[in-house]
């Protein structure tokens, strides 16, 4: 009974929101796409109209990434992404804090089968490379630093499943994580002191669609990828460990 009631409440809530904010048959409260801010991202015309942007031809755009979403994430609204990275960072810190430090790795109850044990090592490299591809190619195709990092972490997960233990490698991950994060912020500060704005795209943007095109974007994606990868791996690792009894 109680549950039905609550379900009803939720329905009323959904109806309320939908009815008064979303449902808009006459387009009264909906801004047409053409007038939204995001149009400027599509046409790369935030700081001046460059005319029609053509794949493989346009050069010296304010942002040379073919992937507009990536352009927004890493360039136009890169500050958000810094925050995003920070969220992940603080989550991993939180997991670390809650886990109470480095304990012994929890042994899985079952022994991994032969196929898993060796298959994991075999797949590990392939996944790793795929992850790297993801963040290197993020400004051109769907993907980017976060999926790339997650894929890298997935490769670590596969290794765990295969019975590997991370051991002392975590230290290195920590350093990687810290360094990548610091470099990200530093790149922003570099922009601030060399070009006048925090996180300014200081590198030249090449031709739209080329690998070396979007200025600092690929670099940042690499940093993000590394950082996210090491962070997620770290989180995984913390979950796999016992608490240090202190």
């Amino acid at each position: 009974m109680k549950r039905i009631l609550i379900l009803g409440l939720m329905a009323i809530l959904v109806m309320g929101i939908y009815n008064y904010a979303v449902y808009d048959p006459y387009q009264k409260t909906t801004m047409p796409f053409e007038e939204r801010d995001s149009q400027a991202y599509l046409s790369r015309s935030v700081n001046g109209d460059p005319g029609e942007v053509v794949y493989g031809k346009s050069t010296n755009l304010e942002n040379g990434a073919a992937n507009t979403v990536a352009a927004i994430v890493v360039d136009y609204r890169s500050f958000d992404t810094l925050g995003e990275v920070t969220v992940l960072f603080i989550s991993s810190l939180g997991v670390a804090f809650l886990s109470g430090g480095f304990g012994k790795t929890i042994r899985l109850k079952h022994k991994p089968s032969f196929l898993l044990q060796y298959g994991a090592r075999f797949v590990f490299g392939i996944i790793l490379v795929f992850g790297a591809y993801m963040f290197l190619h993020g400004h051109l195709t769907p993907g980017g630093g976060f999926p790339g990092g997650a894929i890298i972490a997935a490769s670590a997960l596969v290794l765990y499943l295969g019975g590997e233990s991370s051991g002392e490698k975590m230290k290195a991950f920590k350093i990687l994580e810290g360094a990548a994060g610091s470099l990200y912020v530093l790149s922003g500060i570099v922009g601030l002191y060399f070009a006048g704005f925090f996180m300014q795209n200081v590198l030249p943007s090449g031709i739209v669609g080329h690998l070396f095109s979007a200025g600092i974007m690929p670099v940042i994606y690499i940093l993000i990828g590394l950082k996210v990868g090491s962070e997620l791996t770290g989180i995984l690792d913390y979950f796999m460990r016992e608490e240090v009894s202190s």
């Binding site: 960072f89 810190l93 912020v185 500060i189 601030l192 925090f198 300014q200």
Partner: protein, 479 residues
């Protein structure tokens, strides 16, 4: 020399990132970072600061006006003071604290609604981690659930606003909303609810009790004072500078705020424990602050937020030390505690009296001006309710303070103290900082004009139709 405000965000972040490589000197990082931030704040000039060189409606901007600047100053100074005082507690939380600082600065500075959401999330997770250091994990989890619901609502409202206005920039949003405010109420309500969870507005503040009733000298000032203040400043920013709220919504939300004010004071009156009293009174105060914000008393709400933040900071800090020394915060067991610690007692008393709005302390003039301005708009009911709640607040505040000064019956009869937390073991820095803060309350209480003028300047133009008329010691209107 001029500094870019983004440094107040970037510096702590970079220190937090690098800190994990240098575990040994973690504390140094924290103290250094927060002090550096204070230094930076002094060199920030007002203005608009672009991120990545993209012009405002499209790129993210940091909006530095007097409002942001003063809040930033108070927040960073309080934070730095805390890091100096409570190094031991913060040892494992260095990075989280630095990130919390960055996030709070970001919250205050940012001029972009989605960026605000990101900082909100960072701040929330940092706060949860800080809160979990009291080892009450289910309470911290409660906080987490609440803040996730809050941020979900915030984002939902935000995206509805984006759908309607096609922008995320605060300034542009404000202009568009001014032009056509219709249809945005649901989104505004959702955003309000989302933030209300963080500012401890009452039906949404279930988490507060669990987190703050066990707060130590680190969690208390952090979550109870600094976080609450910063979130409230965000609230003030959004609901005066950005959103155009319809009168009906204002009324509904004001009722909510009023319920919080009354209920919070009643709950505090009911409590017998020091920290519970403080937390409930914080809830009630946030009700009052929101009431002012919603009704357009921007300058008043601003100065109220700042002074409450300072007072709560002192009180939570000292309550943490008291609990450390006495092992309890039941008021009945703490009788006569301040007898042997007169300076801490003085600081606590000044903060409490200021919070209750008694003269000689800055709280009085703030309350006076609130009432005066509310009355100027010819409403007698609201001031009456505020006065009644102030009465309740004054009573429990003084009950608490007097209880801490007054020795119990047993003590008077036998001369032996039952519990002997006679000397709360603190550093002299605690004495110094709490005394400075409480003296500041006295000084501003005697010369409120300066503070009132600053608030007026910072927020005087925020709401055109309700310019606050400030009564200071120099006199006011009609003099």
């Amino acid at each position: 020399m001029q500094m870019n405000p983004v440094l107040t965000i970037a510096l702590p972040l970079i220190l937090a990132f690098t800190k994990i490589m240098y575990r040994r000197i973690a504390n140094l990082f924290l103290v250094l970072g927060s002090l550096l931030n204070v230094l930076v704040v002094f060199f920030i000039k007002e203005g608009q600061y672009l991120m990545g060189g993209y012009a405002p409606p499209f790129g993210i901007v940091l909006q530095v006006d007097a409002y942001a600047l003063y809040s930033l100053l108070v927040l960073n100074v309080l934070f730095a003071a805390l890091t100096i005082l409570v190094t031991k507690k913060a040892e494992n939380l260095t990075s989280s604290s630095l990130i919390a600082l960055a996030a709070l600065n970001g919250l205050i500075l940012t001029g972009d609604l989605f960026n605000l959401f990101v900082f909100l999330e960072i701040a929330a997770i940092a706060a949860i981690i800080i809160a979990s250091s009291s080892k009450r994990y289910h309470h911290a989890f409660h906080y987490m659930v609440a803040s996730i619901i809050g941020s979900t609502f915030y984002l939902l409202g935000l995206i509805l606003l984006y759908k309607q206005y096609g922008t995320l920039n605060m300034a542009k949003m404000h202009e568009l909303m001014l032009a056509s405010p219709g249809g945005s109420s649901v989104a505004v309500i959702l955003i309000f609810v989302g933030l209300a969870v963080e500012v401890k507005l009452m039906p949404f503040s279930g988490w507060v009790k669990g987190v703050l009733k066990n707060a130590d000298e680190w969690i208390g000032p952090m979550i109870g004072a600094i976080y609450g203040g910063a979130m409230m400043i965000v609230m003030g920013r959004l609901f005066t500078d950005v959103f155009v709220v319809s009168p009906k919504v204002t009324l509904l939300l004001s009722i909510l705020a009023l319920v919080t004010l009354v209920g919070g004071e009643a709950a505090a009156y009911d409590s017998e424990k020091m920290r519970e009293i403080l937390l409930y009174s914080g809830v009630a105060q946030s009700g009052l602050e929101i009431l002012l914000i919603l009704n357009g008393y921007a300058a008043l709400s601003f100065i109220l937020i700042l002074s409450n933040m300072m007072a709560k900071y002192v009180m939570f800090l000292l309550s943490g030390y008291i609990v450390n020394a006495a092992g309890t915060d039941v008021l009945g067991d703490l009788k006569g505690l301040f007898r042997s610690n007169p300076f801490l007692g003085f600081a606590f008393t000044a903060a409490g009296l200021s919070l209750a709005g008694l003269p000689l302390f800055v709280g009085f003039f703030i309350k006076l001006n609130i009432l005066y301005n509310l009355m100027m708009s010819h409403s007698y009911w609201l001031p009456a309710i505020i006065l009644i709640t102030s009465l309740v607040e004054g009573i429990y505040m003084l009950r608490m303070i007097l209880g801490l000064w007054q020795t119990g019956l047993e003590v008077q009869e036998t001369g032996i103290q039952i519990i002997s937390p006679s000397n709360i073991k603190t550093k002299y820095a605690v004495h110094a900082i709490t005394l400075i803060l409480s003296l500041a309350m006295v000084v501003f209480g005697l010369m409120p004009d300066y503070a009132l003028d600053l608030a007026q300047k910072a927020r005087g133009n925020a709401v055109a139709d309700k310019p606050a008329m400030m009564i200071g010691m120099k006199g006011g209107p009609g003099q």
